[in-house]
């Protein structure tokens, strides 16, 4: 019994050291992986939720079928953020998700600008979520941002908006929204 106990103990120590080494070497990678994706998504039943001390709401949701291409629609979302902790978010990650886990990111091109122009109210049109984090209105009301997405028409009623900050990850919120369909101009 005694002859076996010592090698076994040595083996156990070796395995422990191996585990510690893996943890030590991989620590930064593990942290990076945690921050890379919305791993813990809280789904709210209404278009209003809370994440890391910030109240998140969908203020307006509108959609328009693209003229000449009836299989796709542009979605316009006006998101409101309010709360003291906004500055701690760092940067915004906004995307639309469907039940299959597919993700649509905001458009940063001509189509996106046109969609915000056509579907938005004017106002602070074009302010991105990032800049809404930086410049909350002085009266303490929600800080609004505009974003446009291009999605398949048949997904319009199945989409949710998922939102997280670089520093809130792996935590994220997911809010439902019902876009109001608008007719293209003319």
């Amino acid at each position: 019994m005694k002859r076996i106990a010592k090698p076994l103990a040595l083996l156990a120590v070796t395995l422990l050291c191996l585990g510690l080494t893996v943890l030590l070497v991989g620590w930064s990678d593990i942290q990076e992986l945690r921050r890379a994706k919305n791993w813990q998504v809280t789904e709210f039943p209404d278009p209003k939720g809370e994440l890391a001390g910030v109240t998140v709401s969908v203020d307006q949701a509108r959609a328009m079928i693209v003229p000449g291409k009836t299989d796709r629609a542009v979605v316009y979302l006006r998101l409101g953020l309010s709360g003291e902790a906004m500055a701690d978010w760092g940067w915004c990650n906004v995307s639309l998700t469907d039940p299959k886990g597919r993700e649509w990111f905001p458009l940063f091109n001509e189509v996106g600008n046109t969609a915000i122009e056509l579907l938005g109210d004017g106002g602070n049109s074009g302010q991105s979520c990032d800049s809404s984090l930086r410049s909350p209105p002085e009266d303490g009301g929600p800080s609004f941002s505009d974003q446009a997405f291009l999605v398949p028409v048949d997904m319009l009623d199945k989409l949710r908006v998922e939102l997280s900050g670089v520093n809130t990850r792996p935590k994220a919120v997911s809010l439902p929204f019902k876009p109001v369909l608008r007719l293209p101009p003319g």
Binding site: D98, E103, F105, L150
Partner: protein, 155 residues
């Protein structure tokens, strides 16, 4: 006896380590992209997007409107214009195209033709939506023939 066992352990360990060292893939093959090969006209699907090779044609000179001015580009070789149908799969993504020539050299799409509507670098692929697009390469004419004969197009 015990000496023999020790020797066997050392030799076995050395063989195991040598085997691991020899079969360990090098850096270049670890970080290379996953390639899906399809013949022209078929749809190939990768993790981030799907694509189909629709048609190709060549030109000695290309004219286009860029930011309001008319631009003409000529070449010592030939312009290869490829029509593609691309669609997003799991998330919004942008793609770049390359032409693997007959000599296996990799030609990136030319930046001399830019800011043209519907060109591939203007495209922002969305899940569930397909778009027709085109891309322009500038290469020696003999790089096309082999590529066409091989019938492969890699995205």
């Amino acid at each position: 006896m015990s000496r023999l066992v020790n020797l066997a352990i050392v030799v076995g360990g050395a063989a195991l380590l040598a085997g691991m060292m020899l079969t360990n893939p090098d850096y270049n093959s670890v970080v290379r992209p996953f390639v899906t090969k399809v013949s022209a006209g078929d749809t190939g699907e990768t993790r981030m997007f799907a694509g189909r090779f629709e048609a190709w044609r060549t030109a000695d000179r290309v004219s286009f409107d860029s930011l309001g001015t008319s631009v003409t580009r000529d070449t010592e070789g030939v312009f290869l214009i490829v029509d593609l149908e691309l669609s997003g799969t799991i998330r919004s993504t942008m793609v770049d195209t390359i032409w693997e020539g007959a000599s296996k050299r990799r030609y990136a799409s030319t930046k001399r033709v830019a800011n043209v509507p519907r060109q591939v670098d203007q495209l922002w692929l969305q899940p569930g939506l397909s778009s027709t697009t085109f891309t322009v390469f500038e290469l020696p004419p003999d790089e096309i023939e082999g590529g066409a004969a091989g019938g492969d197009y890699e995205l």
